[in-house]
Symmetry: C2
Subunit: 332 residues, 2 copies
């Protein structure tokens, strides 16, 4: 039996509090991927089922309900956010040439790159159609901006791939664009669905950004230290993909010359083998790069909790705080 | 020196009438593709320069100006339409594995598939950001709908590839989704920029749809009968790509059994050679498939002109009529 992590438990707790709206969102998503062209619902269902925890739409719903809703716009927006995320996952898997996601074969392996690209485009169009349905130009502005920023971050990551010399600040820019931008948008549109003031929306945006950053940094750390059954990702995925993440940046920066040469050589090679990974893990531990990465994640987690402090104490707020705690620690 | 076709001349005539707004649109497009991540403007400029005639934004501007404009929304929308089109071109070239567009190397050859996919996503995000700037939810609805329909049409075409048994009606559906949908949207949002009535917008939508269909059918015919310097496409591109277009559907439908076997065999093969193309051209001529395709294009062209009939006679209207005439005939 698969062990349930504390992070997964904290998500489950939050979902229990928004159960009905969460189910409505899932149904709306299923509704949107219908098409006469069978490959579209087939491939979409596959990636949506692999998509996992639905963290982003959960944030939209939770932020909206924490502040009080007036209609069902938060559900429409949550579905739009998840479709946007799913579209980027489909394109990501093609770009990263990932064969597996959460332990299952990816869509471009089961079908082909072409289908993944085009179905991703379809889901993107559907996401915008949903946003239009809410009639909120503010949400459209926030999410079209997020779409451009995410793609820009992906290109930046692509250009920086194998570049061991990347500055920590440039790496943080990639995280901000690739991951934090959709977290912050998901939270902010939840606020708009609750007719929140500009100040409240700012706090929600900041909360999402800090949580997303903590989440990504923890994910980076777990790639070198987690157990292989967490989240379906395997240890060393980033390393084998040639993705330079913060633990590597730290180990390279702090390492002796011989160690730095190892990193340069490893990431210059077309492929890295398990022996390379062993050495990488050794150097990462030696330079306390996991601890330093998790400390940074923890700082962002603290900021995220501070962003919530002005809101009245409710079960959903407690659920969000627990989510921060377990997202920026996560079992390892 | 390159021969200028009558179709190109008719576009030039139309551009002369909207010169200033056309230049503003081009500048706005250039403005939108700027990014700190160099690869984005580099790759975007390449594809936009290859993009050719800017037919879709010309339609938006021309329709808007024909009916009277009140501000610069038509320019913003024209740029959004072109960015949306450019994004689909980038993804198309990856999906079709096309090495050349208009005689020049495609972006995914000069850079890579990954960059083309991600920069396409970026341009799509930028297109929606521009639409949001006009504050028109109607335009956002029309163009997000077009984005989903285009992608759906592309998936339909992908699934139907090499399927010689495709019905003419299914083929027309692909054209409607892949090409006509953006033509009709480009025209309709031009109408919205002129605060046109629902009835007028309907006529513009229908005009764009009929023109787009005529345009695509003519393009299909030219692929088997044009001169190789037209539009930078080479004779037989569709055939070599295994794309079943109307001339083939007609030749297959009308042909004797031996001819039908040739078509089945040709499109079942992984690759088709110049000898196959010669035979294909021979059968297409024998079954008057080009003439029949162009006749159909002509019928759509007539419908497009009828859609314009209710509008007051102005130089731009005449320009649009000439564009229909030359788009649905085109030199061959």
């Amino acid at each position: 039996m698969k062990k349930i992590s504390k992070a997964d438990l904290s998500i489950k707790e939050l979902v229990d509090l928004i159960q009905e709206d969460f189910l409505k969102t899932n149904n709306l998503i299923i509704d949107q991927i219908s098409s006469e062209v069978d490959r579209i619902p087939e491939l979409s269902k596959h990636i949506i089922n692999l998509g996992g925890k639905r963290l982003r739409p959960i944030l939209t719903i939770a932020c909206a309900k924490m502040l009080g809703i007036k209609n069902n716009d938060h559900i429409t927006l949550a579905a739009a956010v998840e479709l946007l995320h799913t579209a980027t996952l489909l394109h990501d898997d093609v770009v990263d040439e990932s064969d597996f996601r959460r332990g299952k074969k990816t869509s471009h392996i089961l079908w082909d790159n072409k289908s993944s690209i085009l179905v991703g485009d379809y889901l993107l169009g559907k996401a915008f159609q949903l946003m239009v349905k809410t009639g909120s130009l503010e949400c459209l502005k926030i999410l079209s901006n997020a779409a451009a920023v995410i793609a820009e971050g992906e290109v930046l990551q692509l250009v920086a791939i194998n570049n061991i010399d990347i500055k920590e600040s440039d790496y943080m820019k990639i995280i901000e664009a690739k991951t934090a931008a959709l977290f912050s948008s998901a939270c902010e549109v939840g606020g708009i669905a609750s007719s929140s003031s500009g100040e409240t929306r700012k706090s929600l945006f900041s909360f999402g950004k800090n949580l997303g950053t903590a989440f990504q940094l923890t994910d980076d750390a777990l790639d070198y230290s987690g157990s292989s059954d967490r989240l379906g990702k395997n240890i060393g995925d980033d390393f084998y993909d040639g993705k330079i993440t913060l633990p590597v940046i730290i180990a390279y920066r702090e390492g002796e010359e011989e160690q730095r040469n190892f990193w340069v050589d490893s990431f210059n090679k077309a492929e890295r083998n398990p022996e390379d990974l062993d050495k990488a893990n050794h150097l990462i531990n030696q330079n306390e790069a996991i601890e330093k990465t998790l400390n940074l994640a923890n700082n962002y987690g603290k900021k995220a909790k501070r962003d919530l402090s002005k809101f009245p104490d409710t079960p959903i707020k407690t659920g969000l705080i627990n989510l921060v705690d377990f997202s920026s620690i996560r079992d390892h």
